[in-house]
């Protein structure tokens, strides 16, 4: 029976993971993510799953990559300092085409920063934190319900595209308590691991027409070789320029070739908008409120919020840049998503930033003041 529960964002995320079929959690305690680990430590044994507290964040992500290679859906959760440590193996998941879900509950500020305060400073790190070109998809939930829904979606994207997916809530989204509807089993789509019956010529990493490779689960009768080295279609290392080019390009084209699976945004009243308030996460909810307020007062203000922030919904923002005069990009960092909007708007529309980095949320009046400044 579907039920509606009062859940903390982190608890909703853990419920979403269980709903999606996650049966392995390896993690290390860190504020503001720890409740995900605590919740799953209680729930996973009954579900026949494994909870293990690892020695650090490097081991945490390594353990979930191992579990996923062995065919079990796996996740970990952390915050900025731990996410920094995970970057090494995030790349390994990407190049071995191993689906994993990583939650980075964003605290305020760089380094140890403000563990219990909120922020959105990991926006760029989530995409570019690991070295060199690699694919990663990043989802930004705006509340407890989306912590559930987008966690299920994160697992589905990870399984479908075979890559690491990052769920990027702000601390406030991790700790907010809201009503969350848990759907019946089968009500929401859950994508499970696909494995072909056979691999012609041991082409374990050969791509299909959608650019996707389906390397076999460990212990499934094949003898795959997984490596972080640049590799050919059979999984074995190669330095041949042709092979390496195909490896790097193929890996990175998977996302571009499957944009239908990884485009998700919310928008309101943008068609005739002169000013569009763009934001992500819970900061976006404040922007939505302000956009509605100003609409009521007769101003042509719209609202745009990507739920999947990487890949950035480039095509839609480009369209909006043709019709709107100004984007106001509101975020709890010094302008990381603004850089994306500026790049895409490319002079077609003015881009103005509204940034805050003191550990508190953007207040309605702060957003109102900024939008009033740019209204014609």
């Amino acid at each position: 029976m579907a039920q509606t529960l009062l859940l903390q964002g982190n608890e909703a995320c853990a419920e979403g993971a269980l709903y999606a079929g996650c049966r392995f959690y390896g993690g290390y305690p860190i504020t503001p993510s720890s409740e995900i680990a605590e919740y799953l430590a209680r729930k996973l044994p009954l579900a026949g799953g494994t909870f293990v507290q690892m020695e650090d964040e490097i081991a945490s992500i390594a353990s979930i990559i191992g579990a996923s290679m062995a065919g079990v859906k796996a996740m970990t959760a952390t915050s900025g300092p731990g996410f920094s440590l995970m970057q090494e193996n995030l790349d390994l998941a990407a190049v071995t085409e191993t689906p994993v879900v990583i939650v980075d509950a964003m605290r305020g500020g760089p380094s140890t920063g403000m563990p219990t305060a909120t922020g959105q400073g990991d926006y760029m790190q989530a995409r570019w934190g690991s070295h060199s070109d690699h694919p990663v998809v990043v989802l930004a939930p705006a509340g407890a319900q989306e912590m559930f829904d987008l966690t299920v979606k994160a697992f589905n994207i990870a399984e479908a595209l075979r890559l690491p997916v990052v769920l990027l809530p702000e601390a406030v989204v991790s700790h907010i308590r809201e009503a969350v509807r848990i759907p019946d089993p089968g009500e929401m789509e859950v994508i499970d691991r696909y494995q072909p019956d056979d691999y012609e010529g041991n082409g374990f990493f050969r791509r299909d027409e959608r650019g996707l490779a389906y390397p076999p689960v460990l212990g499934s009768g094949f003898h795959p070789h997984y490596t972080g080295l640049a590799h050919a279609e059979d999984g074995f290392p190669s330095n041949d320029p042709g092979v390496v080019r195909k490896f790097v390009e193929g890996l990175n084209q998977k996302v571009a070739k499957n944009l239908d699976l990884v485009t998700d945004f919310e928008e309101e009243a943008v068609e005739d908008a002169e000013v569009i308030l763009a934001s992500f996460g819970v900061t976006g909810r404040a922007c939505q409120h302000v956009a509605r307020l100003l609409r009521k007062q007769g101003h042509r203000v719209g609202y745009f919020r990507p739920r999947i922030v990487w890949p950035f919904p480039e095509a839609r923002v480009r369209e909006l840049a043709h019709t709107a005069d100004t984007f106001v990009v509101a975020e709890l960092n010094l302008g990381q998503m603004r850089l994306e909007v500026e790049r895409i708007a490319c002079g077609e529309a003015r881009v103005v930033g509204l940034h805050k980095v003191d550990g508190s949320m953007l207040e309605i009046h702060e957003i109102l003041v900024k939008v009033n400044e740019v209204l014609p």
Partner: protein, 276 residues
């Protein structure tokens, strides 16, 4: 059937190996293959995990499920594999830099958890892949490219460390002690819990050359002459390049982590059944 197991166990299309002439890693790989073949381990259910370095390239030549991970992380990844699929046989093969330096923390905690993983540390006393720098297992006063005037540090007694951390099977041998090494690796594979075998191996090109042992046979003699047979209760003071060989520790009483996990799941299930 002397050579059959090698042909069966090797991905022959990827041979010859990348290792230098005279390197002990070929012998080390053969020791592992022989132990696995003698025990008739099902290669479809065998996963060998490694890190980064010369010895970690071994997994590419083993015809089974193999994972070549990031530097030092083999055991953390192997933990995820073994705990999620307990029916698989999981072996971790690492070098001394990989296991004792960058992966030291993972080694400590894998031993402490006592997960059923067989760990093989192939100790060649230096970082060979990056051409001969000091490792935590380089003996005191040995010369390396980053210790051109002799190593100021002392080597890490890794077997003692994993004992303190909670490993339940610990043994040491060298490529010189070939038959002993096979026996110990077989015992380690059969042991239920975290088993640890340190295998000293010769690196004539990058370690031997700087230490008047550029001939592989000189290095093997060095491995022979510095080995001391371990007799419990008769421990003595060893020089930094000396080492004990044989079975060093065994504990059959400590319950393996995967088994504890299985028992936990059953317990929780019966509580839940009583509640509803």
């Amino acid at each position: 059937m002397p050579e059959v197991f090698v042909k069966e166990f090797a991905r022959t299309q990827h041979l010859p190996t990348i290792w230098c002439p005279g390197c002990g890693l070929g012998t080390s790989m053969r020791i592992l293959m022989k132990a696995l073949a003698d025990l008739e381990v099902d290669r479809n259910r065998l996963v060998v995990v490694s890190g980064i370095g010369c010895s970690s390239r071994m997994v590419g030549y083993l015809d089974c499920n193999t994972v070549h991970t990031t530097h030092g992380r083999a055991l953390a990844l192997a933990t995820g594999i073994k705990l999620s699929r307990p029916e698989l046989t999981v072996v971790a093969a690492m070098g001394d830099g990989d296991a004792a330096s960058i992966g030291g923390n993972h080694l400590i905690h894998a031993a402490r958890r006592n997960v059923d993983i067989t760990t093989l540390v192939l100790n060649n006393s230096n970082y060979g892949m990056t051409s001969g720098q000091t490792s935590p297992m380089t003996p005191h006063e040995s010369v390396t490219t980053t210790a051109p005037f002799g190593n100021l540090e002392h080597k890490f007694h890794l077997c003692d460390m994993v004992k303190g951390a909670g490993a339940t099977y610990i043994a040491r041998a060298s490529t010189y002690h070939y038959m002993l090494a096979i026996r110990l690796v077989k015992k380690a594979l059969k042991h239920r819990g975290f088993s640890f075998v340190e295998l000293l191996t010769q690196c004539p090109v990058y370690f031997g050359r700087f230490n008047r042992m550029s001939n592989p046979s000189d290095m093997l003699r060095w491995l022979r002459d510095n080995a001391v047979k371990y007799v419990p209760g008769k421990e003595k003071e060893l020089r930094d390049e000396q080492y004990y060989i044989g079975e060093l520790f065994r504990d059959e009483t400590k319950v393996e982590y995967g088994e504890l996990l299985r028992q936990l799941r059953e317990r929780v299930r019966s509580w839940e059944a009583k509640r509803s």
